[in-house]
Subunit: 423 residues, 2 copies
Amino acid sequence: MAKLGSVEGRDGAAGLVEVLDYVRRHGTSTRSALVEATGLSRVSVAQRLAALLERELVAEGDLARSTGGRAPRTLRFRREAGYLLVADIGATSVDVAVADLSGAILAHAAEAADVADGPEVILSRAEELFEDCRAQASPLPGELWGIGIGVPGPVEFESGRPVTPPIMPGWNGYPVRERFAHHGVPVWVDNDANVMALGEYTAGLGRGTENFVYVKIGTGIGAGVIVRGALHRGTQGCAGDIGHIQVPVAGRDVICRCGNIDCLEALAGGAALQRDAEEAAREGRSPFLRAMLDENGSLEASDVAIAAAHGDVTSLELFANAGRHVGGVIAGIVNFFNPSLVVIGGGGARAGDHLLASIRETVYRRSLPLATRNLVIHRSQLGGQEGVIGAAAMVTNELFAPDFLARWLDSGSPVGQAHAVPA
Amino acid sequence: MAKLGSVEGRDGAAGLVEVLDYVRRHGTSTRSALVEATGLSRVSVAQRLAALLERELVAEGDLARSTGGRAPRTLRFRREAGYLLVADIGATSVDVAVADLSGAILAHAAEAADVADGPEVILSRAEELFEDCRAQASPLPGELWGIGIGVPGPVEFESGRPVTPPIMPGWNGYPVRERFAHHGVPVWVDNDANVMALGEYTAGLGRGTENFVYVKIGTGIGAGVIVRGALHRGTQGCAGDIGHIQVPVAGRDVICRCGNIDCLEALAGGAALQRDAEEAAREGRSPFLRAMLDENGSLEASDVAIAAAHGDVTSLELFANAGRHVGGVIAGIVNFFNPSLVVIGGGGARAGDHLLASIRETVYRRSLPLATRNLVIHRSQLGGQEGVIGAAAMVTNELFAPDFLARWLDSGSPVGQAHAVPA
């Protein structure tokens, strides 16, 4: 456990930060545990707890096990003191949720959407779904404390604006944060893969894993990087943008939406799979895909998964090829970053075993033996909810970051607070 | 400045750690600064300083500027309390140095060597050079406190042993740490590129840069990764091993020493350059290289640099090609990791402007615009000393890491201490 800083001599809200932080991180706690962890005297701890109890951020709970004398009263963070609204905007879907202050999802709603319809349409739809979720979660615990949004493109985290997102026409520089400012609470916006990596770290396979990479294979391809237990956003906030890494392909110059050729996304993303499947159907290489194309007029990546599940050889080959490309890029990442875990998420995680098998085979063949000695490559187990779980985790991380917490603690809640200032 | 932990109530060596740490990191300091930074009372600070002064780890210096009353006496870390021996083993060289406890180099010696001669030969030579350096630096400050070694291959940092290093035959699993155990001080061993990245962070272009990548282009190619101001070693300690990332090449299956094909190192490392230059010379594509080959019987990478400096078109092309391959891999790293700085080191940094220009051109073309918005790609300015500077930084980081420091502080020096235990 990290040692907490000395708070002797500091006054006001700043003095409460460490105590609240400890209670929040440890679920339930006791006064003795707080004295030991903070190095504060019993009197100081008691004073700070009284202030937090008065603000209804901490509550007294059951009796803890006695270690000799009178059984101590447990303390718990009041996760029901407020709630969060979160949205995971995908290329072809909008997922929204209401979460409590521990990040637990209280209500969830999702529907198909096309991110290319632009921010006005998509974010208005998210607002409507927020209302559905609020109704579902009613009675709501406390008032709204914060909003978190994930979008499928690079985001400048400080300003909350998408920056030249290849698969999001109309979103470049759009002030997503300001769009939600009317709620009167702080809003944080990040890239979807970053948010999903936080979700895996909070509640998924990456729980407690210090160094891992989450790879989202959807219409686009992106990654979120956890280093020493925290999201690595990089200098411009665009770390993890692996969809535009060039992959080795012989005799094929595929132009990507970003303008470069042979980007991973252009060869192995959902849109690429769809394009290659339609081509195979039209050229008569797969009667199965042909029949689906004739029936629906177009093919989705999920159709290819269905065809593969039915043993269609062309579809199996498409997934094997995509897996080789993705695996090649992950192999490079494994050599460079040496993570202990790679989590595969997005639609690609639900595409059956062929894609995953092909990714694994390539990584184990192409990475250094030492780097893969204890490496685990696994599908996300969060069933596509890693986006909303991670968006909630992003908001709680920011709300309770010491500097930001110190700014709102006196008023009792972050309502009306400006956004976190850049570090 | 990071807040120091509360030390009230703790006793013995552990209580001294924060005070020594603060004095060491700040060069010169005062009692008032210590009181403010640690949150300790003046009496506690005075007690701890007395213990450190008695152990001769801290000394009183000049008078500091008065801020009203009597001018305070400055305090400084006694960097001359002991010294370090460090070695940077390269594929074709051994560099050793004596450093003081601040990591400053007091004496330096280097000579050509072939790492393939094996650990017994190479490390015995390093021991001899240590003696030369000790003589050079005489009179030595205090006694030997620690040893740091960098080697050109993957190292399991906890055990200090090279693991299947492709360009280091005979070194696999060799107990480098135990080889130096007779000195009676702790020994740390790491990959050379990791150590060089630490050198850049300590004294080079990366000074104070939170996220950057050091790329060493020598006989082999490797990288060291600094994340949030600390070396990222990865799960098995082999992060940064970028020499075996596969690069896109059309119609050419180059077998690498690691057993895979088309690894970056096999196409753009010093050995690859040498091989391609000799081939060009024999095939009559470069009269300049041919003349050098006829005269010397073989070509070195440095010969190609000389030929390029004389305008030999074939040599220029070899560097441009190598730069494109290295640049392609760095472009992927920039997309994934989004650093603010890439430092190019090793022999490749001394190969003239063509290699660097080609790397830059490729990275700026192939990386996402957002990721390169503020990216700087530069040659190391440490003149090849980043290895020994970094090895010294590795040793001081480890010697003064709180847990290790607490173990030896009572005895006054780390002499006779076992190695840092794995976290």
